[in-house]
């Protein structure tokens, strides 16, 4: 039995009211949407806010629709942050335009969790580590860790930097599609590419400050022309967090030659990693076996997982080229 610590639950019905509640309670408050990450973490005493500000009753955070955009000529698909992962995975426009995103959303955890968990929550998911996602009793017995209550990293032993793993399924796909995240806070609204949303710090790995709400994801409709793929490695085919995920989006011309291509892996370090030099290698070439091998080998060189998840890091590393290859083969079969 894991009890929650005492807290007050607030259910504002507008963004303004939510921001005002956060201003009132400051550091003692946290935003919560589906609760599938915040609640177990509170049960583990990783967060102990006195106030939870729930975002699920806010109508402004609902809806999936195509809208015009001031900075994207063809317009964007706006996915509001409190839409559940089930809704994103099954939405006809998402499936039609961005099948890799629907796929990634459909592979988060298990069905019940996707009915509660939201796309916004998935993007803002806390990083995970063997030495962090444990009960207070367990963590205390080990003398705590760098990310919470302690001053030593049990993964790197000597390191002073937290290496907890970014473990969300949808961000890698959103990055390959050139999506943008919109945040609303006490200082107003700001937007940034999802690619810039993450930082390489396992303790807090996003640029969202704790008093900001991720309100929506905007995906350029033009990205729908890309061939997309998403593959995920985990121990069981359901429930588990990823040990590794790979997202690929390729813009291929009529004669099958690559105009541009992007690959993003995650589940390894504290932020999704955009694989570098893909365009240098692939531009103007056919996406054939030879090129796929080259890109997969390049990915292997760039990825160095640590033992932040109790799975042999060498094996996880060896799986990088295997899964990059699978993603690229999926792209060619479209």
């Amino acid at each position: 039995m894991l009890r929650l610590p005492p807290y007050q639950y607030h259910r504002p019905t507008s963004l303004d009211a939510a921001v005002a509640l956060m201003a009132e309670h400051g550091d003692d408050a946290m935003y919560v949407a589906g609760g599938t990450d915040v609640v177990p973490n509170m049960k583990h005493r990783l967060f102990e806010p006195g106030h939870l500000i729930a975002l699920k009753s806010i109508d402004e955070l609902k809806g999936i629709e195509e809208v015009p955009s001031s900075n994207v000529k063809e317009g964007v698909l706006r996915i509001s942050a409190a839409e559940t992962l089930t809704a994103v995975a099954s939405h006809p426009r998402v499936r039609d335009l961005f099948p890799a995103l629907a796929d990634a959303a459909a592979h988060v955890a298990g069905p019940q969790l996707r009915n509660s968990g939201t796309i916004g929550g998935n993007v803002c998911l806390d990083t995970r580590c063997t030495y962090y996602n444990q009960t207070h009793f367990w963590r205390e017995a080990l003398g705590f860790c760098l990310k919470k209550d302690g001053d030593v990293c049990h993964v790197t032993r000597t390191g002073k930097k937290c290496v907890a793993a970014h473990s969300a399924d949808t961000p890698p796909v959103l990055i390959t599609l050139g999506a943008e995240a919109v945040l609303v806070g006490p200082n107003g609204r700001r937007a940034m590419p999802v690619a810039d949303f993450f930082v390489a710090d396992g303790i807090v790995n996003t640029r969202r400050s704790r008093d900001e709400i991720l309100t929506e994801i905007r995906i350029p409709l033009a990205s729908a022309a890309c061939r997309q793929a998403y593959v995920k490695l985990r121990q069981r085919k359901s429930i588990d967090f990823p040990l590794l995920t790979v997202a690929v989006a390729a813009d291929v011309d009529g004669s099958g030659l690559v105009r541009s291509i992007q690959g993003v892996v995650t589940g390894l370090g504290s932020r999704p990693r955009t694989l570098t030099k893909w365009n240098d290698v692939a531009e103007g070439r056919a996406l054939d076996g030879e090129l796929i091998d080259e890109l997969a080998k390049g990915a292997h060189k760039q990825c160095h997982p640590l033992e932040n998840i109790i799975v042999d890091p060498e094996w996880r590393r060896a799986m990088v080229p295997v899964f990059v290859k699978r993603a690229l083969e999926q792209v060619t079969q479209e």
Binding site: Q8, V39, P40, K43, S116
Partner: protein, 165 residues
């Protein structure tokens, strides 16, 4: 002084309840310790096992991760609410006839996941059943008899519907 208890209004299995709860209670704790509906099981208590699955507005949901306040104004169905006035739900009968429960701890959650599936998809494929139950862990049966039971219940519900026509 912040409140440590408050009144929550719930609709569970068709009944309206207005009960006092500690403000930090989950829906699961409220069902089990306040409403005495102990059919919904407390397993891992952190969203892995699916034993606490209830049906919330038609969707299988984990009661252990839901602050009870989030269930206000919504329809909750637990395993106790599956049986109708005529007797047990066809799923419950078929679980019995097919030997789909061994220790039985995961059964209430699986019944809820399966009941929600059959509401939406009256004639599910084996694959759809597997997907619908993929968030419920069973360590005894190996699942085969559970899938058989869900298929049999779907057949029975469909033939009952045919007869009613």
């Amino acid at each position: 002084m912040p409140k440590t208890t408050d009144i929550v209004r719930l609709h569970v299995n068709g009944d309206a309840h207005e009960v006092g709860v500690p403000t930090h209670y989950t829906l699961l704790e409220t069902l089990r310790y306040v409403l005495a509906l102990t059919g919904t099981k407390q397993g891992c208590d952190k969203g892995d096992c699916g034993a606490c699955t209830v049906i919330l507005d038609g969707n299988p949901t984990l009661a252990c991760l839901m602050p009870v306040w989030e269930a206000e104004g919504r329809q909750v169905v637990t395993v106790e609410g599956l049986a109708g006035p005529e007797g047990s739900h066809p799923l419950q009968d078929e679980f019995d006839l097919n030997g789909a429960a061994q220790c039985g701890f995961c059964t209430p959650g699986i019944l809820c996941s399966a009941a929600a599936l059959l509401e939406r998809t009256p004639d599910p494929s084996r694959r759809q059943i597997q997907e619908a139950l993929s968030g419920n862990l069973c360590r005894c049966t190996g699942y085969a008899k559970i899938y058989d039971a869900v298929e049999a219940a779907a057949d029975r519900l469909q033939s009952e519907e045919e007869e009613a026509k």
